[in-house]
Symmetry: C2
Subunit: 228 residues, 2 copies
DNA sequence: TTTATTTTTTGAACGCTGTTATTTTTTTGG
DNA sequence: CCAAAAAAATAACAGCGTTCAAAAAATAAA
């Protein structure tokens, strides 16, 4: 409050220190991200990270509150990718094109970020609270959030009278569509890989089949005129 | 091999010891199940179990190879419930009734067994191998397995010429239907609960809405005559 | 009943984890 | 150069799954 040195313009060295902090933060996140992407949450170990960045394990706590905070930072940053990826669908003209484009982008991101997807979309019960707290800190504008985006598209479709009779609850419709895609992605990234003892329950070579079939079913199930 | 005492009929005391083994095995599983059902996999602790059954932690290894083996035993036993629950749908007459009944039973089981469902249906990568090995040991008859059961129902529908043109791949159709239900269940059990910081992404009070909508969409999307 | 054998149970330890309090080192500003 | 502040390291704690040798208990044989 009454510290005149720290009120406004940062000194050059303050600037540099801040930059160095940011750099090390970045290095920590990159190392952790590698572990996380390849082998999942519990494969990320503070001691392994420390070794990789050549610091002591305790040093990491200068940059992240705890392990959860670190992984959360990674996830949230990478989630920006997804969001920016998804909103691209708004370039499409019609609600139909938009929703299909969005579905495709959503599914593609999930398949290329399986561990991200799991942690984001299938959160642990114990995990949920801290995660939601972090989300709330800088909650993305709702219209950019995946579900909300889909909902606005559905609302548009309803407004244009494109949907069959009885489909007027945009939130419910969006949630149902989301559920379909969510299931597709999860079955693929969790059941699509064969194991030494079982053939995979799902043949991942035919994923596009399933995706197209799901889209097709939704079109024929929801749209008044599904042939456009 | 050449031990005449151990070749056939067990002695009375052998019988009793075997029964006592089974009883303790059961107690361990029940204690662990409680922890697991309430708080998930990592809340199950061998040391906590040991305290609850009033044995040392090491004693558990007489009854289960390791922690994974224990949880797997619980899951597999409880999975019998699901399977027996699902096959009930075969009492229905038509493939349509059967599949809807099965869908309902599948979803209901998932909602009432959230932690089971997660571990079974969203297995960890590291977990997958051991799990598949265990599954392979006494693999359920395929026609009783959830996906296979659904597939046979779809095949029946195809045989009866109930599906629209282009829907001839029973495996793909079953997998797509499964994905839809899978997504419904998972969104519900992972996103349906509000947190102190966010309103839930999904309003769980309207789950039946989403379920019925999904069924309805599938019917209109797949069936030649969706009004029967 | 006493003895030998086998089974069950335990206590203590190992290596791992996330985390923290304390101490040391480094960096900063005067 | 020196005091103040920040950063990093050391060492430890409590917890985890797991293992192994020793103790205890139950069984079978004499």
């Amino acid at each position: 409050m009454d510290n005149p040195t720290n009120q406004n313009t940062p000194t050059p060295s303050e600037l540099r220190r801040e930059r160095e902090r940011a750099e090390l933060t970045e290095r920590i996140m990159n190392v952790a991200r590698d572990m996380f992407v390849n082998d999942g949450y519990e494969a990320v170990t503070l001691r392994k990270i420390a070794k990789a960045i050549e610091y002591s394990p305790a040093a990491i706590y200068q940059y992240f509150k705890d392990k959860q905070d670190l992984i959360l930072a990674i996830i949230r940053r990478d989630y920006q990718d997804l969001r920016e990826h998804l909103v691209e669908c708004l370039k499409m003209e019609s609600p139909l094109e938009r929703s299909i484009e969005m579905a495709y982008r959503y599914v593609a991101w999930g398949r290329t970020h399986p561990n991200h997807y799991r942690l984001l979309m299938v959160p642990h019960p114990a995990w949920t609270d801290a995660q939601s707290r972090a989300w709330a800190q800088d909650a993305p504008p709702l219209e950019r959030d995946a579900l909300a985006l889909l909902k606005t598209i559905v609302e548009d479709a309803i407004r244009r009278d494109m949907l069959k009779e009885g489909y007027s609850d945009a939130a419910a419709i969006a949630a149902t569509l989301w559920a379909g895609l969510h299931g597709l992605v999860l079955l693929e990234i969790t059941m699509g890989t064969p194991t030494p003892y079982t053939t995979p329950a799902i043949d991942s070579s035919t994923f596009d089949n399933r995706f197209n079939m799901m889209i097709h079913i939704f079109k024929e199930g929801l749209l008044k005129n599904s042939d456009q």
